[in-house]
């Protein structure tokens, strides 16, 4: 195992997530794409901790941050979707295009 | 203090668990229909082995059958970190978290089985279980953390060692009670059996037959057994006790906890989540938090 291999995995996951976040119409599916991208962050941060600076806890703290970010992202995403769905009955980004600022 | 068994310990573990589960199921049958029903679980197993597997229209069989298998696997994997006397299959450094994770697999497994069958009753059961999970899981986690706090470690061996002088149940009664209750909840066992209750024709179980049903029901009993067995190292001092060897103490304590859970579960009606949720969040979470606070103050002292 080497740092490169882990970073390759992270890049692949990030790209798949990016594809999902860009291509999907449904808010929920976009969130799935975002989660995959944060997943890549988890892999990358763990690998950097292990291979570059195992004596310092920073890598681990970044992983913890990423996990929290996922939870917050999902909670807020669903709350916003529920609110939009209640008031406008849409769950697709294209249909909420008039919310553009 | 604990010694890790050789590789065959992992093969022996499911056998030991299954023996406990069968004994518990026999005890339950005897309580339900009298002394003649001792062999009922074994006969039911035989019956399920020859019964046809049901298929339903447009079922998602991958998820359906996969959910049942996941429950069975989780029930066994949860027990990897549970010591029997001084033997343990895996002395994982974060054993308590591992145990909790395997229990949470039940969330996904039960919902998948309810969803996959493509049946209204199954789906109602699946959603009921998620609601139940949201109610019992946080108090359950705080109860686990309280035991880990008392020992200052997530390793099960350290938790057992920390109870050398005084069992945790003595000074963590709230955590112990909440733990036992949530074991019934996570194994969706009476009185927390709303996910598989008769009012929805068996709920998640409504469409399962044959081997699929066997796998799912066995997984449920194994989960209950693992939960009961984990109460021993967490709160009841593990294999510690006078005279008898450690493994026998573990067996006796596990049997006592399991028997108590089966017996007490028959004492009242099903607890529905629309009622229990409020209690879980307004009473149990603060209670377990206060318990954890007390324990941490004592530890720092």
């Amino acid at each position: 195992m080497s740092l490169q291999e882990f970073l390759l995995l992270a890049s692949a996951l990030f790209s798949v997530g990016l594809y999902g976040a860009l291509s999907q119409q449904s808010i929920v599916m976009i969130m799935m794409g975002l989660e995959l991208m944060i997943n890549a962050v988890i892999v990358g941060a763990s690998a950097f901790w292990y291979f570059v600076s195992p004596d310092r806890p920073d890598g681990q703290v970044v992983v913890l941050l990423a996990v929290t970010a996922m939870a917050v992202e999902m909670a807020v995403g669903f709350a916003v979707t529920t609110a939009i769905f209640r008031s406008r009955d849409v769950d697709m980004t294209d249909m909420a295009a008039d919310l553009k600022g | 203090m604990l010694e890790v068994t050789p590789w065959w310990g992992a093969l022996l573990l499911p056998v030991v668990l299954a023996l406990f589960a069968i004994a518990a199921a026999s005890f339950d049958s005897v309580l339900a229909t009298g002394r003649g029903a001792v062999a009922e679980p074994l006969r039911a197993t035989a019956g399920l082995l020859v019964q046809q597997r049901r298929r339903t229209l447009a079922a998602d069989s991958l998820l359906w059958r996969g959910g049942a298998v996941a429950l069975l696997v989780a029930g066994i994997m949860a027990a990897l970190v549970i010591p029997l006397g001084s033997w343990v299959v895996s002395d994982f450094s974060v054993g308590v978290v591992w145990f909790n994770t395997m229990e949470v697999v039940a969330w996904a497994a039960v919902w998948l089985v309810g969803w996959g069958a493509n049946s209204a009753f199954g789906l109602i059961g699946g959603y009921r279980f998620i609601a139940q999970g949201l109610a019992y899981e946080l108090p359950h986690m705080f109860a686990l953390i309280t035991a880990a706090l008392g020992a200052g470690s997530l390793r099960v061996a350290d938790i057992v060692a920390a109870q050398h002088d005084l069992w945790f149940v003595v000074w963590m009664p709230v955590a112990f009670a909440v733990y036992l209750m949530s074991v019934l909840g996570m194994a969706f066992f009476r009185p927390f059996d709303h996910a598989v209750s008769g009012d929805a024709a068996g709920g998640v179980l409504a469409e399962l037959s044959g081997v699929d049903r066997l796998v799912f029901v066995a997984g449920r009993w194994l989960l209950l057994t693992s939960g009961a067995a984990m109460a021993v190292p967490l709160f009841l001092g593990g294999g510690q006790g006078p005279l008898l060897p450690g493994w026998l103490w573990s067996v006796l304590k596990t049997a006592a906890v399991l028997g108590f859970l089966v017996w007490v579960s028959r004492r009242g009606p099903t607890v529905r989540m629309e009622r229990f949720h409020e209690i879980a969040w307004i009473v149990l979470i603060p209670a377990t938090l206060v318990q954890a606070l007390v324990v941490s103050i004592v530890v720092i002292w």
Partner: protein, 392 residues
């Protein structure tokens, strides 16, 4: 253990296992079949059998009471969804239960017979294959057939298909505007020509099922609705009762009560105390307190044979009345708790104070209830189904 050394040994193993299969009867109680059902339940208890909750769990279908042309398709539907090994018996009235049921175990354990049954069971032709490469087949768990669908589904088995999607917004106008209250506010939705750019409304899903409607739910969200019929073959359910529900999640938006298969001549009521005990047993069973329900059934059978012991009745009634968990669980469920307490009074006093249940109010009580609450309400009303006429 039996060693599987070849085909012969495999057959031996199968028959060895089959002989050990416990009997799991599912009782299909017909209107006018109360005495038959009571006799069956008594036989089941005396033989240490356990009742099945759904066709999937059952291996014996016991039809209790006279069948009519109206109800027999439902019974056949349930029968077709019981997996082999299986046996079907018919108990006409209380007197022939013993004769009909005593041979059930040997029929169930007969390898040759059950091999034939396995060819017939779960082999319903004509249902289309699903996408997941399934040899699909019949389906149900003991509830009525679906109102609108040609293919026969029961117990709401058609679930996800109907759940299958949101309907086209534009089409909603043509549907006669039923239950989509706040829809007009979002007139903008017309422009999309379809919720997701598909015209779903005219589309048929695999299986010949139509899509579900949507309607406003109590949280102000517009979500899918299911049409799920409950009954007539459900455990602890009044004989012949069918409640056609519109479900959203597990909240009943609309209920339509119907009784099928009732023959007006059939008058089969149990004596008062036994009747009340029977109703209480059902309610306790639906509430999930199996032990108290089983005890109530024992007391019921004793009352029917005039072997009643007032002490036992009192002790049981006191235990049920005092259960704090039961009170906590039933409080606020459409008057279920007061009705149960009236029944307990009747049982102890031996005379009728509760009066007969008003079955025509059932539909009103059920609307807005959650599924679990609805089951409790139905059990707590426990309408004598031969008196119910069609109510909307």
């Amino acid at each position: 253990m039996v060693r599987v050394a070849g085909r012969g040994a495999a057959v031996d193993l199968t028959s060895w296992l089959l002989r050990r299969t416990p009997v799991r009867p599912l009782i299909a109680a017909m209107p006018g079949g109360t005495w038959a059902r009571v006799a069956v339940e008594q036989f089941v208890r005396q033989n240490g059998w356990r009742l099945a909750l759904s066709p999937a769990e059952a291996n014996v279908l016991v039809v209790a009471g006279p069948t009519t042309a109206e109800i027999s398709p439902y019974v056949d539907q349930v029968w077709s969804s019981i997996p082999a090994p299986r046996v079907r018996v018919h108990v006409m009235d209380g007197t022939d239960a013993e004769r009909a049921l005593s041979s059930v175990a040997s029929t169930l354990h007969d390898v040759e017979l059950q091999r034939g049954e396995a060819q017939l069971a779960l082999r319903k032709e004509g249902l289309p294959q699903s996408r997941h490469d399934q040899h699909s087949s019949a389906h149900s768990c003991g509830a009525a057939m679906h109102d609108d669908h040609a293919s026969e589904m029961s117990c709401g088995g058609a679930m996800a298909d109907e759940h299958g999607g949101h309907e086209d917004h534009g089409e909603h106008e043509e549907h006669g505007g039923h239950q989509h209250g706040g829809r007009e506010e979002h007139g903008g939705s017309h422009q999309h020509g379809g919720h997701h750019g598909h015209d779903m409304s005219s589309m048929e899903l695999p299986g010949g099922l139509s899509m579900a409607d949507r309607g406003a739910d109590r949280d102000g969200l517009t979500l899918d609705q299911l049409h799920v019929p409950l009954g007539p073959v459900l455990p602890d359910w009044p004989e012949g009762l069918v409640v056609h529900t519109v479900l959203q999640g597990d909240v009943i938006q609309q209920a339509h009560v119907e009784v099928i298969g009732a023959s007006p001549a059939a008058h089969d009521r149990l004596p008062l105390v036994a009747r009340r005990l029977d109703s209480a047993a059902r309610l306790l069973s639906v509430a999930g307190w199996a032990d108290a329900a089983a005890q109530a059934r024992v007391l019921r059978d004793e009352a029917l044979t005039e072997r009643s012991n007032a002490n036992d009745l009192n002790r049981w009634a006191r235990r049920v009345r005092r259960s704090r968990l039961l009170r906590w669980s039933l409080r606020g469920i459409g008057g279920a708790l007061p009705r149960l307490h009236h029944w307990l009074d009747d049982i102890v006093a031996g005379r009728d104070t509760a009066g007969e249940p008003a079955a025509h109010e059932l539909a009103a009580l059920l609307t807005g209830a959650e599924f679990a609450a609805a089951r409790l309400i139905v059990a707590s009303v426990d309408p004598a189904t031969h008196e119910v006429t069609h109510h909307a």
